[in-house]
Every structure is written in C-alpha cells, then in structure tokens.
Amino acid sequence: MSTYLVARAHGLNTRLLPPNFFEALASVKKIREIVNLLSPTEYSKYIEKGEEIDIESLYKVYAQVFSDRLRLISLIPLSRDLAEFRNNIIMKYEVENIIKILLGLKAKKDFNEIEKYLIPGLKSRINYNELYQERTVERAIQYLKTKGYRISEKALELYTKYDTILPIEKELLSNNYKKLIEKASKLGRETKMLVKKLVSIESDIENIFTSIASLLYGYSIELIENLILPFSGRVDTKTFLTIVNSRNPREALEKLSIYNEIIVPLLNKDEFKAKIAALKNLSSFLNSYKISSSMAPPYLLYLIRKMEYEYKYLIYISYSIYYGSKPEISSEMLIK
C-alpha cells in the first residue's frame, strides 16, 4: 500500500512547475508577464484568456491549484494508518485557514474579506463560516474545542493577557506536529524517524525567530517561552529557552552558530533576509530529505511541502512584482 502511495506521489511530483519556470521569472516586471509564463501550466485553467488579471485573483488561482493538488492526494485510496498520516499532513493547511479566520475575527473583518485568502476546498471538520459566526476569538476557540482541537488554558490566558493570536497559533502548530509524529509512528520506525527529522528542522527555524523576540524587540519572556515549539532539532529546546532569557546577542550567536546564515541577519534586525535564508535552509534540507524518503511514506510529506512552497513562492513573487520590489528568485530557494 505504501508503495502505491509513493508511486502516486512521484507521479504527482511531475505536475509541479519546473526549475526553469522560476529562472524565467527572474526577468519578469509585470503581473501580465507572470500570467503569460503560467499559460502552458496547470494554473492556466483558472485564468481567463485575454483577461486582465488583478493580484487578488492571481492569489486565488494559486490557492485553487494548491487545493486541487491536495484534493487529488486526499482521494488516493489508502489503508487506515496511511490515510490518517496523509490527512494529518494536509491538516496543517486547515490550521493555517483557522489562524487566518482568528486573525480576521480579531481585526473585525467581514467573512468575505477573510474567505478570499483561505485555501479553498479542504476536506475539513470545521465549517469556516460557522467558526466566523462565533464573532469573537474566545468563542471561536470554544467552537474549535468542540471539533476536537486542543487549546490549553495557558494559551488562552496568554492570548488575553498580551492580546495576540501568537500563543494560539503556536499551540495549533505544535499539536499538528505531535499528531503527525503520532501517525507516522504507526507506519514504522523509519517513517517516524524521517517525519521527526523534518518536524524538528521546521521547529528549529520557527524557534530561532521566536527566541530572539525578547532580546531584540522587548517581547515578554513569559510569552516567548510559551511560544517555543517542543521539538528538538539541531538545537535543543533548552538552548532556545536560554536564549529567550538571555540579554546578550552574543549568546544567541554562539548557541545558534549552526544556523549562522539565519541568526546573523536576524540579530541585525534584517528579518526579511533571515527569512529568505531560512527558506533556503529548508529547501536544501527538503532536497536531501527527498532522497532519503523517496521510497517511503514520508515522500508524501516531502511532496506536499514542495507543493506548499510552490504556492507560497508564487504568491511572494507576484506580490513583490506588483509592489515594485525585485523578488529574491534563486535556485537555492527551489525544492527540486
């Protein structure tokens, strides 16, 4: 069964945009040119020929294609354990949708303003409109709890105290990772190990950005300590907690030297550069991950992450061009 899944995943991989597409994007200056480049691809089925497309519509096109690909994967017939593993990978995007709705509720936006940026068509246990109808973040969280989401009292307390969605966001992400590892462990030791490896690298990257918040921006230590994801990667969780309580940037530099390309710009408050370095780091990891997981269920995790990167990379490039900024397009950011 897992061989069938991996074979289908390899097949789906061929539908993604090739590296030379992104090379061609390097010389693009207008949205129309992006649309022209997309015309021989899967994206063109959502773009009316000859019609001028605005940036919001292009965003919807990207989201729709991503959603179609996830739906294709969700339709693959699998055994129960494999299906649960697959569903938990896709659950990440339901979590992303939920966070967008919570942010929208906090900002008192209309549902149609929020809805246009959600990943559409996800097979979800949440009715997004019902979630929105709760009208406040507190009531929305109670609704989520009735649908099986676990959000601790501590996260709620921090949300109320600091008036920020960050603790809830981190808790949802952390729970998603825990569930993913739990489902992976049912598929064998190798699968569990490979999944934990990816989760821990992704957590490392998140934790780097989180841990320096109190040092650089005066964020509350109590808040930041509770935002550290509890998955140790190349850097131990305890190290991140030490950095949170540190008042010395040198300590962060020393302890996170393995991620030098990220921590150096971060300590210079060049967060954009740090984020790009982080994405390159993740891409590089995923490219090596592809090889180690190529015949195992975690290949699906690799594939879905690659699809996610394509979707978000296209959004980043399109908005950068739209706002007249030259986007960073480099082969290092591509997952091959």
Binding site: A107, K109, L166, E271, F272, Y323
Partner: protein, 205 residues
C-alpha cells in the same frame, strides 16, 4: 494720515499729551520689535527642526515601504491586513502653549497601542519601526502647525512694526514738531508784540 481721527489742537497741553502718546507708542514699537525678533528666531529654529525631522521621516518611511513591498507577499497580504486592522487606538491630548503671547498646540501622546508581543516574525521589525515613526510624524505635525501660526502672527507683527516705524511715528513726530514750531512762533509773536507795545509805552512817556 496715520493719525486721522485725532483732533489736533496747537496748544501746549495738547502737545504734552501728544508727546506722551508718542513715547508710549515708541515703547510699544520697541516691544513689538523684540517680539518680532524673538518670533523670527523661534521660526528659524522650528524650520530647521522641521527640515531635519522631515528628512528623517522621509528616509525612514521610504525604507519601510521598500521593506513592506518585499514582506507583503512573503507573510501574506491577509495576515498583514489583519494585523494592521487589529492594532488598538491612539489617545492624544492637544495642550495649548503660549509663545510670546501666541497660543500654539503641543501634542501629548497619552496612549499608544502596545507594539510588543503582538506581531509575528518579519512583520514585527517593520511594525516597531513604524511605531517610532509615528511619534516623529506627530512631532512634524506639531512643528508645521506651530510654524503656520507663528508665521501668521509674525507677518502681522512685522506689518505693525513697519507701520509704526515708517508711518505712524514719523507722522506723529512731524505733527508734534509742527505744533511745537507753531507754539514757538506764537510765543515769539507774542513776545515781539509785547516788546513793541512796551517800546511804545516807554517811548510815549
């Protein structure tokens, strides 16, 4: 004539009163001149401060906009819009302050919405810079208003000082001189008449 409306009477009493008036106006003119000089200095200082503040704000705002253009797509337009919309309200008080008798506003920020602890990575650096910029923007607005009010008053003061210096005081001094000359002439006439009468009286004995 600047002294229109005053009934000129060529009498010693009127002259004394008129000279007292001229002296009072001269003192007023000196005070207004001092006020004008002080307002000019203040205006010059405010203009220099404004120039520096504007330069800083424009440079910072340009950098922020460039960063924003990069970050908008990376973070997600919906996330940035939601974060921006959920920032709390600002409370300010406008306090009137007197400068050389002119009332100008001073803005006091009573409450800025909390910037820390709110924003996720990448957005937070820009958000915190924007918060600092906001205080500079308040400073610029206050300076511009002060400059406008002071300029208006300076223009008015300048007009009054010039009018006093070039028209009113010279005219009044001229009138005073005329009255004085006229009185002197009358006195001389009277004296000459008396002398002639005395000579006639003495000659007739």
């Amino acid at each position: 004539m600047a002294v229109a409306g005053i009934r000129i009477m060529p009498t010693r009493g009127f002259l004394i009163e008129f000279k007292r008036r001229i002296k009072a106006i001269e003192e007023g003119y000196k005070l207004l001149e001092m006020k004008r000089d002080e307002l000019t200095n203040k205006l010059r200082n405010y203009l220099e401060s404004l120039k520096a503040a504007r330069k800083h704000v424009i440079e910072t705002a340009s950098k922020i906009l460039m960063e924003f253009a990069k970050v908008y797509g990376l973070v997600g337009p919906d996330v940035i819009d939601s974060l921006a919309a959920s920032v709390g309200e600002i409370d300010i008080s406008i306090i009137p302050v007197s400068i050389m008798g002119i009332t100008v506003p001073e803005v006091r920020i009573d409450k800025l919405p909390e910037a820390k602890n709110k924003f996720p990575p990448v957005v937070r650096a820009i958000a915190l810079t924007l918060y600092e910029l906001f205080e500079d923007l308040i400073k610029i607005t206050t300076l511009e208003t002060k400059i406008e009010i002071i300029s208006y008053d300076l223009e008015r003061t300048n007009r009054i000082v010039n009018a006093l210096e070039k028209i009113v005081l010279p005219e009044m001094k001229e009138i005073a001189k005329m009255i004085e000359d006229s009185l002197d002439e009358d006195e001389l006439e009277e004296f000459t008449r008396l002398k002639i009468v005395r000579d006639k009286i003495v000659g007739g004995r």
